[in-house]
């Protein structure tokens, strides 16, 4: 991996980012509209490298690993490309076209999330800054 020392590091960062998203007024409202369970699958970098979010029923929860319920959408990519993606430095359409991101399931949630990536990236950069990983912030 280019950006990460181990597979725990990215998951910790991404979960902290989602904690911020859940309390951000704009993003929490947007996430609730997604109304799906989404698995972000980075297991190509290690068996434990994944996390999920559950945005159903007006509640927002997230956790490491795999969700107990069947996900509506699974996005599979590398942890490095996930870093680029959450930094809003990866064109998701192009990444999908070129096979860097594999998507399985309903795409409704993906389309609801995509317009919010700019704001998500701001929060992600805050997480990197606060956790002493400012060197990972992509310009």
């Amino acid at each position: 991996m280019e950006f990460w020392q181990d597979t725990k590091q990215p998951i910790d960062a991404f979960l902290k980012m989602f904690e911020k998203c859940m309390v951000d007024p704009e993003l929490s409202a947007g996430l609730k509209k997604v109304n799906q369970v989404i698995l972000f699958d980075y297991t190509q970098d290690g068996p434990d490298c994944s996390f999920w979010i559950d945005t159903r029923g007006g509640k927002l929860t997230a956790g490491a690993g795999k969700p107990s319920d069947k996900p509506d959408l699974i996005m599979s990519l590398s942890a490095d490309d996930a870093h680029r993606s959450w930094s809003n430095k990866l064109n998701p359409v192009m990444a999908i076209t070129r096979g860097k991101i594999k998507v399985k399931g309903s795409a409704t949630g993906l389309l609801k999330l995509a317009p919010k990536l700019k704001r998500v990236a701001e929060l992600y950069n805050e997480v990197l800054q606060e956790s002493g990983q400012a060197d990972k912030i992509l310009k």
Partner: protein, 622 residues
Amino acid sequence: MFGNTGKIIEVDLSAGTIGQKTLPEEYYKKYIGGSGLAAKLFWDRGNFDTEPLAPEAMLVFMNGPFAGLKMSGASRNSVAGRSPLTGVWGDSSCGGYFAPELRYAGYDGIVITGKAKAPSLLVIEDDNVSLVDAAPYWGKGIESVNDGLKEKYGKNCRTVVIGPAGEKQVKFANIMNEAHHAFGRAGFGAVMGAKNLKGIVVKATKKDMTIADPAAYEKLRKEVNPALKEALAAVVLGENGTAANLEGGMVNGDVPVKNFASNYNEEMGSKLTGSELTDNYLTKRSACAFCAIACKRVAEVKEGPWKTPEGPGPEYETIAAFGSLMNSADLAATIKVNRVCNDYGLDTISCGMTIAWAMEAFEKGHLTKADTDGVEIRWADMETVINTLVPAIALRKGNLGELLAEGSVSAANKTGKDSIDYTCHSKGMEAPMHDPRGGGHGLALTYATSPRGACHVATPMLFMEMGACYWPEIGFEYELEPMTDENKPESAVISWEMGSIENSACWCQFADREMQISQWVDLFNFVAGYNWDADEMLRAGRRVFYLKRLINSRFGLTAKDDDLTPRMLEPARDGEPEGIEINLSGMIERFYGLAGIDPEKGIPTRDTLSEYGMAEEAAAVW
């Protein structure tokens, strides 16, 4: 001949004669089919002085080589000729079910000239082709005519029909297949109306087709169809229709708001987006022939002012044209107006654009109640749009109907007072609902250079800038940044080749996104037996693009006509593209150089034409 039947029907409505003609195989190899082959037939006929609505005008319906072959998205049909809206070359593509039936009946296309003495229908039943009286259908809306024809000729017949707008020769009248699928653009419904041709019915009893290598084709088909179905784009389109990403497009600045004056209204985007239609109005999904994507919507508005019975639902273009473009977030109104426009037979893009222009003109005082028969034309006033403006246009009622039925450019020219500055078009055809300032500067280049005028489906440029195309075999493996001019002329050359292939092969741009270049080449070889390589295939695409530009040259267009309007080129006032300028002239200059186009005449140079096997055509223009 493999793949194509080689046969077309020739109809002279003035003489009441019907014949058949066999086309040389060379025509297919050089111009593929669809709008490309139609352009070749138009060029051969050479009636460049004939007005679009004159009896002598030529109207061509043409299939591609894959019609009826059970490939997802590959059974579209093109109609073509001189557009009454623009006065220059026009073509318009339609999905639905017409193309396979025509193919099964034994024909690749239909060439129609003349004017019938009385309203007529062309009825094709295999080898029996006849003209019959259409008086019972004249004046009626498309839905009831389609129902009536199904009753008379059987539910399995396929129809293409015009509505009252076509009969009244509204310049953006469309032609509808099965009352659901539209030959929307360029106004060919008016051409049929001018010819007293209410519709065409086709009914085939055989399905004989000869292709070059059936086993290889079937193997490829079984590879390609599942891949197309499973692609993310297909999943997105199937779930939420062509408006699936309207919300995201609004954030990017791609969706026009208030007659292209704004590129951003997030709330509007979220209210008009495809998932809203799915959640609130969708009753079922629908598809064109053999298509596994099923992006078509069937919708119902159960209550409220726009109560609409279950029927064909709006696509992205209609939702944006009668939504954000008019500063309205009323999704139910777009469902209603879609049905109304379909039944009258109006292109919803040009109709929406013309009304949005009128809204701005009224706001600015360039149009007053004295011009509009006393009607106030206000932003987002959908009641006036649906109950007054659309019927007035379709039936050419009063001064207002006559003014707007000619399209936005004509209306602005008649109105004066600088109102032409806020029309949005190229070559007289109103722009579709993708604003190149946010959608991508390459789109501005392809809008401007498009032979038929501003068009988002003439090339795959929108998808290329989005990142949805990857063709390393032909040099397109780089990333495009939408809101710059970098690499846009280079990619526009590829986009014109690929777009011309798609439209001549009559493929749907949504379905073929997953197709690799090698698969395209294999398809042509397995079906038509061309023995092409990628270069030969691209040369055919380039030839089609060149021929359409030669036709436009004969209509008097030059390089100066490759342009966009001031409204479309002014830096966006808000949203993601705010303040960014489009370097259109710079992109065009470089594009001309790369494509071998003369910078004054706007047509390929003599050397370029010779290089592409078009020396004969070159001799006619140089």
